[in-house]
Amino acid sequence: MGYDPKDPLKDRITDIGPRDYKEFLPSVIKENYGKWLYHEILEPGVLVHVSETGAKVYTVRVGGCRLMSVTHIREICEIADKHCDGYLRFTTRNNVEFMVDDESKLKPLMEDLESREFAGGSKKFPRGGTGAGLTNIVHTQGWLHCHTPAIDASGVVKCVMDELYEDFQDMRFPAQVRISLACCLNMCGAVHCSDIAILGIHRMPPMLDHEHLDNMCEIPLAIAACPTGAIKPATVDGKKSVAVKNERCMFCGNCYTMCPSMPLADEEGSGVALLVGGKISNRITEPKFSKVVVPFLYNEPPRWPSTVDAIKKILNAYVDGAQKYERLGDWAERIGWERFFEKTGLPFTGHLIDDYRFAYTTWRQSTQFKF
């Protein structure tokens, strides 16, 4: 038995939702659910949470690249079976957490994780990502699976994390630093509130495949999709199609999402923008958006050196200048953006001056500035 193409509806089960999380909780978690009193970070990547019952749970957090094969997942399971009674979890930033209920079980677990490497020599389970350090980069599909990316995702992330590997395993930053990546303006990572956001952007208006456009797209939808109203209906060589007012285009890719005959991606045109200073938490200061500080860097596969380099400049200036508990954006605002560009050595260009809906609110209506 099983699925029967001839009778698709036979015994069909729907709307059952996800599995109940309670099935998956290790006993120390189940027993102390809601009873936790406080926690401590014993070392980078190792947390202990203490319950009012006196019970403790020790967590070892390891970096995961969220693109995982079943072979790799099976290896994770093997580890969890060996040390953690067959349970584990994933964090909201794609790290893996192994938990044990007794300190004595920590060392063997950590050694086991430590020991595993991929054939190419990279670590399978780097420990870290806690406290005032760098954690995993959340990212999107990139060239590996989406149709609108301006950049790759997993590859860029690998290059940045290789370079910042020590900081994943350390906690020397003034505050936590969250790096996120999204491969086009759709921004699937919602990276717009990250300490550092790596964003794929286009700089060329869509190409128009006039010959096929009418067959492949709903022209009215394509026209409606354009936020700047740059797209108008047109007839080309007798065929229904569209025309784009290029100087109105802001390269958002909406038209392409609606219409495959309007591709934007280009070797020269597509690349990386860097945004900094966003945050999510309400700690001390309110959540804030990241700001564009590098308008464009070329795609440089396989190692994206310019992108990695710019990120290091930003991080170094931040680590040197910020006060304890100060997030990257709070630091930039305290010293002033003129100082941010001075200290990071990043060039300031007109591209970074807002000209969208709320532009005016980002200009300076004051005589307060630093020479």
Binding site: G2, D15, C65, S122, D152, C188
Partner: protein, 435 residues
């Protein structure tokens, strides 16, 4: 041995951070060797590597639009994807992904994960994302005929449903909350699961103008980033006083306890200075330390979490807990990125969550009614105004909903605001005011 040469990708096997390329290669190899009766192309991972290598040369993506693929009766859960070089890479000619609804806060038993692996090796690429940005388990790449098969096995053998995509409710997600966090102000997992089950129909069958997302953060630290990533952000908070253990405070000032649970251990920041590190950083200046007693003027506290984060063993969230409800976050397309706006400053969050569900349904009715095609809730609120949104939610205006009152005097008065209404007779007026 590998089907395609991948000199550029091979560069990504170097360095310490886990290499997804090494992982893909090991998967390709195991598909070579396996005696499992593979239903998806044996060489799909090989071809995916080849396609990636080509993309690294071209610097332009080689995937095409998805087209409409899915499982019968569902409007979401599957993302269609086709390669634009099918002859060269037949293994990924059609390479669709399934979104599998993760369990709240992503705890797993190895037993369950192994079932997923077994199924996905056999019927898919054997590649996954643990997890997608919305929270789902992403089963990355299979052929069209496999979709129904996989759905059947998921539902029948794994007791597991798909997640959301398209113009419907997206897979809700939450922070770890009470399972392992002392800061949780309500049970994020319980609510997340309850809402996911309650709204299965909205999740599977597109009836909205566009996507809609719930995210549940247990406290203002925001570990699931709901304020930036959810159309409705539920963020735990409390009404009463922060609980203080004065002895523990002294333990921090005395140096027996490490500030912030040791989060700053990687650098010598000098001895902990409660005045400098807590009192002076409190955004509302509502704290005082006289050398042996910590005082908090809770009425002025905005529950930013800083002091609690710094001294988790000494300070605890209040007992009268609940959540703030915010609406409208989204990514930049079209009107620019938005964060959620505070709409209900405080709501108790207790089973069966009637009050919150009533609110959600009022909001959905309004949005379904007034929202344009592909207009997110946050964009609708901007287009029609926050006051309108409050009417819809049947809430009174409250200064807590705003950062500051309007500075422009352009108030859109309604006729009912003016006694006697707007009707006037120009000739009556002219009697007193000649032309």
């Amino acid at each position: 041995m590998a089907k395609h040469k991948t000199p550029m990708l091979d560069e990504l096997e170097k360095g310490k951070w886990p290499s997804f390329i090494s992982d893909m290669k090991q998967e390709a190899e195991s598909r070579e060797k396996t005696n499992v009766d593979l239903q998806a192309p044996k060489e799909c991972v090989d071809d995916l590597l080849g396609l990636m290598e080509l993309t690294y040369e071209d610097k332009v993506v080689h995937w095409k639009h998805g087209g409409i693929v899915g499982v019968f009766g569902y409007g979401g859960g599957v993302i269609g994807r086709y390669c634009d070089q099918p002859e060269q890479f037949p293994g990924v000619r059609d390479f669709h992904t399934l979104r599998v609804n993760q369990p709240s806060s992503k705890f797993y038993s190895t037993e369950y994960l192994r079932q997923v692996c077994e199924l996905w090796e056999r019927r898919g690429s054997g590649l996954t994302n643990m997890h997608g940005s919305t929270g789902d388990i992403i089963l990355l790449g299979t052929t069209t005929p496999q979709l129904e098969e996989i759905f059947w096995e998921l539902t029948h053998n794994l007791d597991q449903d798909l997640g959301g995509s398209g113009s419907n409710l997206r897979t809700p997600s939450c922070c770890i909350g009470k399972a392992r966090c002392e800061f949780a102000c309500y049970d994020t997992q319980a609510v997340c699961t309850d809402f996911t089950m309650e709204y299965q129909d909205e999740l599977h069958r597109p009836a909205f103008p566009y996507k809609f997302k719930f995210k549940f953060d247990g406290c203002p630290n925001g570990c699931v980033a709901s304020i930036a990533r959810a159309d409705m952000s539920v963020i735990g908070t409390w009404k009463d006083d922060i609980r203080i253990d004065q002895d523990a405070v002294k333990a921090y000032t005395g140096g027996e306890l490490k500030p912030n649970g040791g989060a700053h251990a990687g650098r010598d920041w000098g001895a902990f200075d409660i005045q400098k590190e807590v009192i002076d950083l409190c955004p509302t200046n509502c704290m005082a330390w006289d050398g042996n007693k910590l005082k908090i003027d809770n009425k002025e506290c905005t529950r930013c979490m800083h002091c609690i984060n710094v001294m988790p063993k000494a300070l605890r969230i209040g007992k009268d807990t609940g959540a703030s409800i915010l609406f409208g976050a989204k990514a930049p397309i079209l009107e620019g990125a938005q964060m959620s706006t505070l709409t209900v400053p405080f709501m108790k969050i207790e089973e069966p969550y009637e009050e919150l569900k009533d609110l959600v349904e009022k909001v959905w009715d309004y949005w379904s009614e007034e929202g344009k095609n592909r207009e997110r809730l946050g964009e609708l609120i901007q287009r029609e105004g926050f006051q309108k949104f409050l009417e819809v939610c049947e809430l009174d205006a409250d200064p807590r909903m705003i950062q500051e009152p309007r500075s422009n005097p352009y108030i859109f008065w309604k006729e009912e605001d003016v006694p006697g209404g707007w009707e006037r007779d120009i000739n009556e007026f002219r009697k007193k005011h000649q032309r």
